[in-house]
Symmetry: C5
């Protein structure tokens, strides 16, 4: 139960933050997430074929420099609750106000918008955190010439592999342009959706076993929250397929022909993910069905025990009741072996009943 | 129960008013809402970058003036039961009879129609009223050059935020054209749909808890009315997405390129709303499923108690019945410790049964 | 039950009449309805802006005259079982044999076919008849230049309002062309679908209350027939939307630009009707769900009574049985207050049980 | 039960014959049906406006003659298990090997393929055979200039009406070209689908009544096989609509403009059939729902009887048990009217219980 | 149970291997299947109209030769866990790295990609293995000029028939180009899907019988795993239809006009397969429904037995209890035939009850 509540909170939070924006003008930059703690932190990974450096600029003005650097810069901003800060960075890179609004709007559904000089994308990073729970984090990415801006809510992310490949010159990433970096990050997000699917797969299997063993109402509750979780995750994952498809068809000059080939590969993955989600959804529904059928089965078993006990002993008790009557004239009572005959008859009835229920396969 | 009925009434009312229009010529202007009380009331907010005034013209003829004012006018008419009045205003602003019919037809489903000189839209404002109930109000809006006409049923509305922004010069609204005002009003309506979603979310969560605690038939009833409510609200909300989409693609000269950018933002919201509605619908269905499974569980529990009690005591009673028989020749009866042996045997059977049910996990 | 059967008959009738056509050549004009009674009856309403007359021509040949009259003629034929008669009229107005076949084929699903000189439409008039039952009547309409032919099965129809408007010069009908008359009739048919919806709405509400009060199997039966009724009505109503849409897009010269504007209004209505039908369908499904859950609830209640009674009295009876045994050596029996102690113990057990069930909320 | 199995066989047979074709080259002509008995039999109906003869050519070579006859020839081949024979006829009429494969492949789903000189169609004839069971028969038809080839599995078919019309010069068939004959045969197949629908309708009604009367598990079984039957029939009927639609849009010179008008009529029928099938499917699902609800109702009734009996007599038995105890000091036992007082009290309890259950509407 | 687990493993394996690829660069060639045992093995079937040889080249370099041979070569590689080996072959035949990645990615969903010089396809071979279980094997095929490369996981495959036809010159395969070989292999894969369908059909029928006989919870479990199996197989089979369709529409020069005719035939098969899968899915759902209804039925039966036993004997026991009371003044006890009168009365009640339950059809 405790688990369920923890997972449920983030969804709730998002909904209720909406209120704070009601009546505000569109284009107002308002962070929808958790405001406590965290100040924004910038880390810049600047690289080309030959070299690769990590910068942590103290002053905002230093960031500007990387925009025009001949190397590829991956500007990573963690923490979105300082809207002013985000706005300033946005200004420096020439980004539209509506885009800035979407960067801090953690409710924003996945989208990709193309602008003249840049491509803007919003996604949900999904991963299993240290408490073995599913966590969803809003991430916004802007692809510019020779530069990719990444805005994320907290430090934890799914980009470790990409950082590694850049730092250690694995694969082709160091020799490619910023569009490949953008793709690599998107690919990392999508690849992590598979981990979420595994998480669901595991949960379904565990529940399946538990439903089969002992269908308690707690399990029904857990199945229902699993269904809700899948429903909600689907909403974040599902649109990605179309977005990747649109990127492939896009004629924006920032996306190279080569990168499109890789995007096609990512498209394949999104297709597979969507199909799996659909299957997990149907499987979670089957779980509930299974649960109901097992409940009915248990009930059946309970009823059989009751029926067998009652059907055997109620008639026997009746016979005992007969000979417990106090009539003056009950000849059987005074026979020598009456008692033993009755006991024998009762025993025969008892055995007869057992045989009867055996043939009915109730025993 | 009382609550349910209050909410149910408005839907009923609408359906039954239909009768009054049967057989009338199309284009006949007939108000479908509640006719009691309320006379129409006009309030005009006239503004430009520099100034902003609120007028409440006494005579109808004065309204004409605002049509041709160089400032932007927001003509707000409250109360639609005076069809003559609506017709006169319509004439003054050169609006088609069929449009006037739709303005007062509170059954009209959401729509946007483009005419040569104006754009006409009908929507449902949804909000939670003071009784914490969901209220739906018909609203019609006409976008003209430098003027927006708004027709609403009652005083209560969701435009307070927009009025504020105009009055206090928040955001960019005062410096924009009438199409932006039209958009701002539409945006306010759409934003309020999120409140309705939260209302549903809250109701679902409360019901979830109650279903889990104690599944009474009242709860089943409430789940069903929630499902009905969602079904009906969906009908008002769902078409909005397509309407906004059409506005974006529209080539009507009244809608500026800038406003379209903002409309795209609103489109995102309608998408999110429709997805949420879908999720709430599925969750309300799961609620019913949950309810049924909990009922079955309770029944199971009841049956177990019965079975345990009966299975333990019926055989014991039978044994007591045996030794209550009045046969002359029952040797056990005359032994010194027969009674205590039987009592002991009964006790052992009792304990045996308890152990048996324990191993079956029924206890 | 009686009601259900009456409604069921017309559907049955239609299916079984099919047999009479098996093996016949296509284009054979065969009336599919009830052949008893009724001979065809013709009534012609001839009107223009200035005047309006009602003719009931005795001889068939007189009808021809109205075809070429400069006024608008509404030729209304009641009764389709005289195929020869229908064929003759068809010939007079230059109508294709396949069209004539569809006129008398009361199984024909709604359709609109455009021919060079005329437009042919088949619809179902639905209304609530005097027995408060839903009645469906086949109606075929042909739009010619300055003339509309209407073929209907029985006298009863939904065109009273249109007749009124023509006779009393209400609205614009008298000043318009035959296409407007065609539209007005179609609009009358569509408007009456709202009455059918109200009928469904009412039935659903009544059933909802009854399900809640006392879920008998008769109610389940009624819910199922309601579902069937909705299914079947939907089949007649649903296609109308697309047909009206096609009329609007049609470039047939008989349909004026003005009339298309009104048709767009009718299209809105058909949209609303289809959405409502969908909602009523889902509501009728929910009814069944509600029914099942109430049945389960009742069962639960019954089981609780049984369990409480049995759990309380079976152990008590057992104790009484103990002291009813006839052992010689049962010391308790011979104590002064043994009886009263046992009675007291029983009373305490009784109270204890009540308290236990109270805490379990079974009482 | 016997019935179900008989119907199930043909489906089974088809699936298992598949094996015999595994690994064979595509284009191999292999009959999939029942190989026993039956040798192929050819009957040719040759006709024009003036005359009509039936030929039964003994030698295969004679058939060639009819191909080039100036009259219309309807070449009807019964029995497909002699693949050599079919191949020879195919060669004579210049038919592609892949077409021949489809002719004998009784698993082929309905299709229409256009070739340069002919049009090839495969359909399922459905009819109710003498055992009142639904029978499905594979039929292949080839439309050539002045000739139609029909291949069918067994003698029984649905073309009697067409033969009649040709023989007795009913309708227009004798004066029309081979495309009209092709259409007439297709129309006969489609018309017979209505008989199948009636069969389903009848079955549903019978089951409905039986479910209502006495829901045994046999009925559940029959409902399920009805559902399966509808599912499988739908697969043969459903594609026909699109096929007819494609014929209408086809520009093949063999299909005259006139025939297309008639095909449009057939299209209407296929539409109606598909809608009905959909309705019957939903009705068969409702049947199962009805069944479940009736089972629950019966259970409820059973439980009520048990509860009433137990609730009345268990407490009474307890009281009797009290006064059956053997305590020495039980003052009531020795009063003059104790017995009668207790009897009276028991009677009052009995009546009280009855009243209680009456108010609960359990009696 | 054992069976279920064996089948479940391959799916599990695939999911969990995903992890090993997380964070790797796209285009990395990583085998996803079972790594134990198996080294890659190459077999080349080289043939033309006149001759046909089977080669098993020891050195990789020898394979190159077959690429440019004037004969048709079918290069068959078994075992994908040696990525280096696959990469080398890929290089020799000029295949893209992304293609190589898909070849060893056993999770790849079915797809066909066209490249300038070759066509690449990935499919799932499905067959029933020796343990009578459903097995799924990843297969990748590359169509080049005069050469087809086939990559498969293990030795077992569905191509025996094709090998036979090539070796023994059955059908037209020896006289056709490499595109026909590609088609023949694809056709073999598709044809084998029918075997899987039969497998499902058989399972459904067996389960149907078992559900009817004795609905245990094991059966519910098996139904659910069947549903899962169908869901998962559908995912591999379903996309094939569209892929074949795209091949037919393709304008790639490697696919001859002739082969397209055969592909159209394969398209028909995929259509039939998809329809059947849909039907089996609905039938597996019906199975669960059937199961639930049978459980309810059994419960009903159990309840009836209990109710009959209790209703008959509880009142009788009560009467016996009455005359077991120890009141001093119970006149009936002292009558001559009191006992026999009571016994008679009890017998009458017993018979009365039986008659009552008989009329209620409970017996």
């Amino acid at each position: 139960m405790a688990k369920k509540k923890k997972i449920a909170k983030p969804y709730l939070r998002k909904q209720s933050k909406r209120h704070t924006k009601l009546g505000k003008a569109p284009g107002t930059i308002t962070y929808m997430g958790n405001r406590e703690g965290l100040s924004s932190e910038v880390a810049i990974l600047e690289y080309n074929e030959e070299s690769c450096q990590l910068h942590k600029p103290g002053i905002l003005e230093q960031i500007q420099a990387y925009k025009d650097s001949p190397k590829i810069s991956w500007v990573n901003i963690v923490g979105l609750n300082d809207e002013k800060f985000v706005e300033k960075i946005g200004k420096q890179f020439g980004v539209n106000t509506l885009v800035l609004e979407d960067i801090v709007n953690t409710n924003q559904r996945p989208k990709i918008d193309e602008y003249e000089n840049y491509i803007f994308g919003v996604f949900k990073m999904l991963y299993i955190n240290e408490q073995e729970e599913l966590a969803g984090e809003h991430v916004a990415m802007i692809l510019l010439e020779r530069c990719v801006l990444v805005f994320q809510e907290v430090q934890e992310d799914v980009f470790e592999g990409v950082r590694d490949r850049v730092a250690n010159k694995h694969g082709r990433i160091r020799s490619k342009d910023s569009d490949y970096l953008f793709f690599a990050l998107l690919d990392a997000i999508i690849d992590n959706y598979f981990v979420v699917l595994e998480h669901f797969n595991h949960k379904i299997e565990v529940l399946e076993e538990r439903v089969y063993d002992n269908p308690t109402s707690e399990i029904a509750h857990e199945i229902q929250s699993l269904k809700k979780e899948i429903l909600k995750v689907r909403r974040w994952i599902f649109p990605v397929r179309e977005l990747v498809g649109r990127l492939i068809d896009s004629e924006h000059e920032l996306i190279g022909k080569d990168t499109k080939l890789f995007l096609r590969d990512a498209l394949d993955h999104t297709l597979e993910i969507n199909e799996s989600l659909q299957i997990y959804r149907e499987m979670s529904m089957s779980l509930m069905e299974m649960y109901m059928s097992n409940i009915s089965n248990k009930m059946n078993e309970v009823m059989k025990v009751l029926t067998i006990m009652a059907s055997i002993f109620i008639p026997l008790t009746f016979i005992a009741g007969i000979y417990g009557m106090n009539f003056d004239n009950m000849p059987e009572l005074h026979t020598q072996y009456g008692y033993f005959v009755v006991l024998g008859a009762m025993f025969l009835m008892f055995v007869g009943m057992l045989v009867y229920f055996k043939t009915k396969k109730w025993l």
